[in-house]
């Protein structure tokens, strides 16, 4: 019973904040809606027993990436009036609603017919240890490549965003 409550509560607010990211006109509001979305999504991950992924999601996504978005909005000192998208026409709202509802329904019916059963009901014990064991043995090569990728991204973004002399 409490599982249902937690899941539907989280799912409801995630849906609301996703729609908010897409429809609001003020970019800071959209960024905060994205923060709420990602935070609740980390809650869903923790609910399924993936503690480590949930913590990484909050630390990296909400704690760094969206803060980067906020910094860009503030540093560019964009006037909210300038940034505000033109008021979406009513047909855009309707299309958005119909598309989401339609695909969600179709998706649910399709997936329902697949008879995949319940999500595992026991939490994976000591998630961090298991993830680390696999990450550093089977996936060591992608791990090193991704760290080089991060280095390239850092150097690249600094090079692109530097003020031209």
């Amino acid at each position: 019973m409490s599982d249902q409550l937690v899941f539907w509560g989280l799912a409801g607010f995630i849906t609301l904040s996703s729609v908010a990211v897409v429809t609001v006109r003020n970019p800071v509001t959209a960024a905060v809606a994205l923060v709420i979305n990602l935070f609740l999504l980390a809650g869903v991950y923790a609910f399924q027993g993936a503690d480590f992924v949930a913590a990484i999601q909050i630390i990296v996504y909400t704690g760094a990436i969206v803060v980067l978005f906020l910094f860009v909005i503030m540093i560019l000192n964009l006037d909210p009036e300038h940034l505000r998208s033109p008021r979406p026409r009513i047909w855009e709202h309707l299309v958005l609603g119909v598309v989401i509802a339609g695909f969600a329904y179709i998706g649910y019916r399709f997936l329902d017919s697949l008879d995949v059963g319940k999500v595992a009901s026991n939490r994976l014990p000591d998630n961090t240890y298991d993830v680390a064991m696999i990450l550093f043995s089977n996936y060591l090569w992608p791990f090193e490549i991704v760290s080089i990728l991060i280095l390239l991204a850092i150097v690249g973004s600094v090079a692109i965003a530097k003020k031209p002399k």
């Binding site: 799912a11 995630i14 958005l96 298991d130 991704v146």
Partner: protein, 99 residues
Amino acid sequence: MPIEYYFSLALVMFLCGVCGVLFRRNILFVLMSIELMLNAVNLVFVSGSTFLKNLDGQIMVFFVITVAACEAAVGLAMVIALFRRYGTIKSEFFRILRG
């Protein structure tokens, strides 16, 4: 919680992201919608991993989050450079590739 509920939630998030990329006229919002899509995919990976009792899904999430961070950093640097060059970030001004 049957897994199709999680997949439906991920589908809804992904569709919001797609509609955001299509309908928003401002590059910052487009980047935010792309992050939304990536998170929907992450949700599918984590749910699949919990259902199949296999941790490969969570490893994939780890890499997707990392690559999304790199992409957001480079994308935002480009937004700053564009703003400095053109004075605006409304997507209707960037039509050079438009034939």
